[in-house]
């Protein structure tokens, strides 16, 4: 596999985490423009943990996830009182506040004769853990996909659980869900925390993949994209946002001859798709139909063998 393909696949894997993070909140009916902030917190926390404190990658990623979750919980508590557009604006404002805080955040120590650590607008270079532990790009891509597969497995378990049903009930009608005894605020805050953790894991992986991060990476562009992936791929299953990422990267790569204009063309295609299929390609109805086909045709044949 050549470097280009490994790079593209690794990017797809990493972006999928922030897409899944937005998707989890979309399940509860909330549109967040701020998941990139938890991606940033995870990236900085995991980067600091390996580059400055000498933690192993697994612990650093856990640290990034925990930091992302903690920040998400802190922001969720006041903002989840808001609904719709107000919630979206509040999450965007919080994300921008966090990004600007990183523009001012300086924490550097001397490692191997050089100053290493976040240096405000100049970013955080030398996150060399993966590189210096001789983990190749292909091996790191496997780590990304193993983590992504595990996260998707968690989503599959969630979809089958009562909590998953409760989240979808809240997303459809939170008043009705509350009247059925669902602890709406509790579930929403927990979903926000888990979404923050997922974004934090993605951030940690991103920081170690590129070895370099800076505040500009985590601006509204990433937030809008992460939200769009769920809406493109569909809200019926966690595979929807991943499909959204694959389509985004795939379509953008296939129209490379349009150079910078391909972003504009892609934006138009997304707008068109959302008019035709407002809840994405794999929406709830499509997933239900696919499940029925699976149960009625394919699954029985396998059992009879």
């Amino acid at each position: 596999m050549d470097d280009y393909l490994i790079g593209v696949l690794s990017n797809i894997g990493v972006i999928s985490f922030v897409a899944l993070s937005s998707y989890l909140l979309l399940l509860t009916g909330e549109i967040s423009f701020g998941q990139q902030a938890f991606f940033a917190i995870g990236a900085y926390a995991a980067g600091i943990a390996t580059a400055l404190w000498g933690w192993p990658l697994s612990l650093a990623l856990c640290g990034g996830a925990a930091a992302g979750a903690a920040a998400a919980l802190l922001i969720a508590m006041p903002t989840l009182r808001l609904h719709g557009l107000y919630f979206s604006i509040a999450t965007l404002a919080c994300a921008e506040m966090i990004r600007i805080l990183f523009e001012l955040f300086r924490y550097q120590i001397v490692v191997d004769g050089a100053l290493v650590g976040p240096n405000g607008s100049d970013g955080f270079r030398e996150i060399r853990y993966v590189f210096e532990n001789d983990i190749g790009a292909f091996e790191f891509m496997l780590v990304i996909y193993a983590m992504l597969a595990a996260t998707l497995a968690c989503f599959a378990a969630l979809e089958r659980s009562r909590l998953g049903v409760a989240l979808r009930m809240i997303g459809s009608d939170d008043v009705l869900a509350a009247s059925h005894g669902v602890a709406v605020a509790h579930c929403k805050i927990m979903a926000a925390g888990v979404a923050g953790a997922i974004a934090g894991i993605g951030g940690g992986l991103y920081a170690h993949m590129t070895t370099y991060i800076e505040p500009r990476i985590f601006d509204i562009m990433l937030g809008v994209h992460s939200l769009a992936y769920g809406l493109i791929g569909g809200l019926g299953t966690a595979l929807g946002p991943v499909l959204g990422v694959v389509l985004d990267v795939g379509v953008l790569e296939s129209i490379r001859w349009l150079a910078g204009y391909r972003m504009i063309v892609f934006g138009g295609l997304v707008a068109l798709l959302l008019i035709v299929r407002p809840r994405g390609l794999f929406d709830e109805t499509t997933v239900y139909r696919l499940n029925r086909i699976w149960r009625s045709t394919i699954a029985p044949k396998r059992e009879n063998r």
Binding site: I15, G54, G113, E132, C154, I201, D219, L222
Partner: protein, 151 residues
């Protein structure tokens, strides 16, 4: 209560994290191999958004020129992370420690150039450059620090 599933979910997430152990056995004490220092100068060509780049590599400790290195340049736009999946560009060695590469960008603006060194020295250096109609300059030199905006 639906929220009773929460601990199981968090445990599952924790288990997922443990997969990262695949790359998690190292420590901060890294082997003291040669570390590279890079200087990069890019100038416009006659083609739109195309630039000729000259990379000068030296040993960070001794200042000695780093020749005989396999140098590949990857490009990403910090303001549009992971959106431009540019094909990595292989640089050719013009003379010891000096490498040339021609890069063609999707658009002008700030780009992070990831210089990947293999062979004699294995290292990675990231440089951020602002590409515009007149050429390219390091972003650090063009950036206005917070609180120093001119009105």
């Amino acid at each position: 209560m639906p929220a009773n599933s929460a601990p199981a979910l968090l445990i599952a997430l924790g288990a997922a994290l443990s997969i990262a152990i695949a790359g998690g056995s190292g420590s901060l004490a890294q082997p003291a191999g040669a570390r590279a220092q890079a200087d990069i100068q890019c100038s416009r060509t006659d083609m739109p958004r195309e630039f000729d780049c000259v990379v000068t590599l030296s040993d960070r400790r001794t200042g000695e020129a780093l020749g005989g290195v396999d140098l590949t340049i990857r490009l990403d736009m910090p303001s549009m992370p992971m959106a431009h999946n540019m094909r990595p560009v292989k640089a050719t060695e013009a003379r010891s420690g000096t490498y040339r590469a021609r890069i063609r960008l999707d658009m002008l603006g700030d780009w992070a150039l990831q210089l990947n060194l293999k062979g004699r020295v294995r290292d990675r250096v990231v440089k951020t450059l602002r590409f515009d109609e007149s050429g390219a300059a390091p972003v650090d030199a063009t950036r206005t620090a917070p609180g120093q905006h001119k009105h």
